[in-house]
């Protein structure tokens, strides 16, 4: 009972409460902007940082896998292939044939390493797919629109074709049209001035 009495005695005026509340809320609104921005800013910064870090790490791994030319069995092989597609997409038109020649060589080396480690049904399927991609890259490398580009491409492909260890004839047996096209395009442009 006395608590109630005390409470009544100590009660503030309604006018004061109303006035003080308005002042408090006005001040709160002023401070509010800072309060809201901070957590939202933190959240946005956090998300941006996470995205940046993710792409940074992914980019680093792709660059490593591509430059190191990791093998088919390597965990980062998929990233290497992404790196190659970026390079093809970003390459100038005049540089693409040489790039494709490099990719054809890469596919051939990958096929050889797969075949060297024994045959399983998975590896056979992988080899088939790689051979298809290699022929595609070879074909793309012959798509030249200038003398200069054709020369560069032929030089790159000559090395590919001449290398005995690569056994290109076997690779192209079923697709001798490709080999024929290469000979037609590149015979006036042999490495040492001789016919291929």
């Amino acid at each position: 009972m006395f608590k109630l009495k005390l409470r009544t005695i100590l009660l503030p005026k309604k006018e004061f409460l109303s006035r003080a509340k308005k002042l408090f809320l006005a001040e709160f609104e002023r401070e509010c902007g800072k309060m809201i921005l901070r957590p939202k800013f933190k959240a946005v910064t956090g998300i941006l940082a996470a995205i940046f870090i993710f792409f940074g790490i992914a980019g680093g791994l792709i660059a490593y896998a591509d430059t190191a030319n990791v093998n088919v069995s390597h965990p980062l092989y998929g990233l290497k292939r992404y790196g190659e597609s970026f390079r093809v997409a970003l390459a100038k038109k005049t540089d693409k044939p040489v790039l494709h020649a490099e990719l054809a060589k890469r596919r051939l080396n990958e096929i050889k390493s797969l075949e060297a480690t024994g045959k399983t049904s998975k590896k056979i399927n992988q080899t088939k797919s790689l051979k298809k991609e290699m022929r595609e890259s070879f074909k793309n490398s012959l798509e030249t629109d200038s003398e200069e580009t054709a020369q560069k491409s032929c030089v790159a492909l000559s090395g590919f074709v001449e290398d005995d260890s690569l056994h290109p004839e076997k690779m192209f047996t079923e697709h001798s049209v490709l080999l024929q096209k290469f000979q037609e395009k590149c015979s006036p442009h042999s490495k040492n001035g001789e016919d291929i």
Binding site: I9, L10, L11, P12, F16, K21, L25, F28, C32, G33
Partner: protein, 187 residues
């Protein structure tokens, strides 16, 4: 006990939302605490106008300091009333003002002569009576009075603010309660 716990959780929840900039919550917080803060200031100052000013100060200071409150570290009620006590102490250090309670009889008469509502004047006199009573208390009893009866805190919260055991506070509160009852029956 459950009511105190519910109010604590409620205050903690309001504080969290306030930190995120929720104006509605700020208003709710004010409604809940302002009357008690005023009563708390009034028991110490004995002067309405000063108590009003200080109440406003306390709430404006709350806005600046709310960022420092962390629900994981403790209870909002304890944090807030510690802040209020500190502000009150600082106020006393800076302003040794004359309070209504030390005004002589003639001053009271002149005030009586002013155009004030009779009810309000009666309240003023009651406050004067309460303030005189509080002034007669020792420092510890005064703290207990302000926190228990003006701020309406639990023994648990008071023990954290005053750094005393709950048991000791309960014993002291029981003695104080008797004193208050004897005094207020005359008011």
């Amino acid at each position: 006990m459950r009511l105190i716990f519910d109010e604590n959780s409620r205050l903690n929840g309001l504080a969290k939302k306030m930190k995120r900039g929720d104006q509605k919550t700020a208003g709710a917080m004010f409604n809940l605490l302002a009357p008690r803060v005023f009563g708390f200031c009034l028991t110490r100052l004995g002067n309405r106008e000063e108590a009003e000013d200080l109440t406003q100060d306390i709430f404006l200071r709350l806005l600046k300091k709310i960022e420092l409150f962390s629900p994981e570290k403790g209870n909002f009620s304890v944090w807030f009333w510690s802040l209020a006590r500190n502000i009150l102490t600082d106020h006393f250090r800076k302003n040794r003002t004359q309070t209504f309670s030390v005004l002589g009889e003639d001053k009271i008469e002149s005030l009586t002569g002013q155009k004030e509502e009779p009810e309000f004047l009666e309240k003023k006199l009651k406050i004067e009576h309460v303030y005189k009573f509080i002034s007669s208390l020792g420092a510890e009893e005064r703290d207990l009075f302000e926190l228990r009866y003006a701020a309406e805190l639990s023994y648990g919260e008071m023990s954290k603010i005053l750094n005393k055991s709950e048991g000791a506070l309960r014993v002291a509160a029981a003695r104080l309660k008797q004193k208050i009852k004897n005094e207020l029956k005359n008011v």
